[in-house]
Amino acid sequence: MANGAETIVRTSEPPHLRIPQRAREVYGRREILLNLVRKELKVKYTASILGAVWSLLNPVVFLAVFTFVVKITRTSMPDFPVYLLSGLLAWNLFSVSVSTGARSVIDNSNLVKKVAFPHEILPLSSVGVALIDFVLQSSVLLVFIVLSGHGLHVPELALYPLAFLALAVFTVAMTYWLSALNVRYRDIQHLLSLGLLVWFWFTPIVYQGHLVQNALQDRAILGVNLWDLYLVNPLTPIVLGFQRALYAIVQPVAGSPPVLPTVSLAWLAGMLALVLAGSLLFLLYAWRTFFDLSGDFAEEL
């Protein structure tokens, strides 16, 4: 019957992580991932009449309110809602994934203790749920961009896939890392909500990137340029990438200061490639950490 079947050997030695093989294993159990995402969505909107429409309503209300507020306050910045949402949706994908993902292993302790499956699926399902919201809300934003007359700008739009890829890899890596550590040190989840708040304001989402560039560009501490330091936050280039791809116009009103940092598309693309490369390395590290710790999850929980 099982002739020719692979013999699985289990010893005290933690198996060595081979990413391609492990990725195949996770892919082989993708049915669990899909079902968990489906479950989360279903549970989230259970007994609600509108269901997933709530997900769409969120950015719609956002856009409506900000359009209104901007009209009243006569803000000099045109299409502020587009600016805000193009960065905010990316941030939300990250922060929701990470904060629900960090708890994912603990919240599913019953499964971890009773079922053998690649535990990576748990943080991945958190990312999956956030991703679905991201896709729904981004489509609302896209429709708004087109209908509001802001319009899509073709060369800038090319940054979008790169920015998205960098965001996705960084988010998955961060979620792996934190969810594994959180099993051992439950401080993580408390630290995280605080950390995300600080992180949010260190990223040019609400305020204009160019203001920071302007203020920091010519200053240095200990020989380190502050604007360069600001860009060390991987989410800054990512958010700038999304903004440049969707909002696109660096200086919307001639004569008044620019909104987006005055950097070339090529420079930004280079930065994103750098972030992507760094995120891939981080993913390797985070995956290894997760994999090594996951052997003990069933005991730690």
Binding site: A2, T7, E31, V115, A116, Y185, D187, A298
Partner: protein, 393 residues
């Protein structure tokens, strides 16, 4: 035959914290000495042949579930090796992943994916699952409205429709009403006929005897007994209860003559044990015939409960006692003038056979048990005569 599962010298140590440090501060402040080591398994070895059914028994905390989790890959052994071949499914919990807000149908798909079924595979067995669970009308209801019995039925129905080569089952058979249990057992037998390998953890010793071809008894993390289910179950009952379970011991024979009763008579003439070491003991066998018997031979054997070795036996024919042809009842008394063996428990096997053909009329193997104790130390005030002498020095 190849082994589907080989367990070799597996030990598992758990760290028991009085209070588990789960935060950074606690972890830094907690000295390592506050953790105690607990060996859930020590040098456990056994294997399961392909197509075999192994019963794992032992009382609570003996390590049954731990070894099952190690085989399934949920826990890592502290030392030792487990080799396993073939697609494996572990049923450690019915309805793993069931969510109350989802409908029965959605939960079937969710649970099935945890057991390793793809969506397509689940599609193809979905009808069978619903039929097995007998929940046709309820599949579109959220399972939070299910009774616990319905949940268990649904969980088991999914579990038995997975298609593994190796199936690990933990205590999940003892669910539902009797009819449903019978259905579950029938399903397990179907798995056996299909040549699948099964490891079954259960407290239901009769189930082990009924469906397993081998059994392992774990006791405080060690393999205490390993072998044929009847032997291991007997050992388990002995350790667990310290007494005989009447419903268990195999009896065989053609029953032309039957053992009607076996009684022990102790030194004081009563039937109340225990036996003081060195005291006489009488084993009294009442025989009833169902047809005239002319060559009855009655024998007994006493086995040491710790080793299962015969320490004493006797037979009417070899003792030169001839039982004449009779039809009805007779009592045979074996008077043992002194029972000198160590304190402990002793099994008694009694048999009726034919002197001439050796045919077994009726044999009860290790059906009876008595206990030997050392004479107790006298602890109470008693009147012992004291003689007094005074000597001149």
């Amino acid at each position: 035959m190849n082994a589907a599962i080989e367990v070799e010298d597996v030990s598992k140590k758990f760290r028991l914290f009085r209070e588990r440090p789960t935060s950074l501060k606690q972890r830094l402040l907690t000295s390592r000495s506050r953790a105690e080591d607990f060996w859930a398994l020590r040098d456990v070895s056994f294997d399961v042949r392909e197509g075999g059914t192994l019963g794992l028994i032992g009382h609570n905390g003996s390590g049954k579930t731990t070894i099952l989790k190690i085989i399934a890959g949920i826990l890592r052994p502290t030392s030792g090796t487990v080799r396993q071949r073939g697609r494996l499914a572990a049923l450690l919990e019915l309805g793993a992943g069931f969510h109350p807000e989802l409908t029965g149908r959605e939960n079937v798909y969710l649970n099935a994916s945890f057991l390793g079924l793809s969506r397509k595979e689940t599609d193809s067995v979905y009808g069978a699952i619903v039929e097995f669970a007998e929940l046709e009308e309820f599949m579109d209801n959220q399972v939070k409205f299910y009774s616990s019995g319905m949940l268990v039925r649904l969980g088991f129905a999914v579990a038995v429709h997975v298609d593994p080569e190796v199936l690990l089952i933990d205590e999940v058979l003892a669910v539902g009403d009797e009819a449903f249990q019978a259905k579950c057992l029938e399903r397990i037998r179907q798995f056996q006929r299909d040549g699948r390998t099964i490891v079954l953890v259960t407290h239901a010793l009769d189930t082990v005897r009924a469906i397993c071809d081998r059994a392992v008894m774990l006791h405080h993390g060690n393999v205490h007994a390993l072998g044929a289910p009847d032997d291991v179950v007997r050992e388990m009952r002995y350790v667990l209860l310290g007494q005989v379970d009447e419903s268990f011991v195999p009896e065989e024979g053609t029953r032309e003559a039957e053992i009607e009763a076996v009684d022990f008579v102790y030194a004081d003439g009563s039937g109340e044990g225990p036996l003081l070491r060195g005291d006489p003991l009488t084993i009294q066998v009442d025989v009833r015939t169902n047809e005239p018997i002319r060559d009855l031979d009655v024998d007994f054997a006493i086995l040491d409960g710790a080793t299962n070795h015969v320490v004493l036996d006797a037979r009417t024919s070899t003792a030169g006692v001839e039982i004449a042809t009779f039809d009805g009842k007779k009592r045979v008394r074996f008077d043992i003038s002194s029972f000198p063996y160590n304190p402990g428990k002793y099994w008694v096997t009694v048999g009726l056979t034919s002197r001439e053909s050796g045919r077994l009329y009726h044999v009860q193997t290790q059906r009876y048990l008595f206990e030997v104790v050392d004479a107790p130390r006298i602890q109470e005030r008693v009147d012992v005569p004291v003689e007094i002498e005074v000597e001149e020095l």
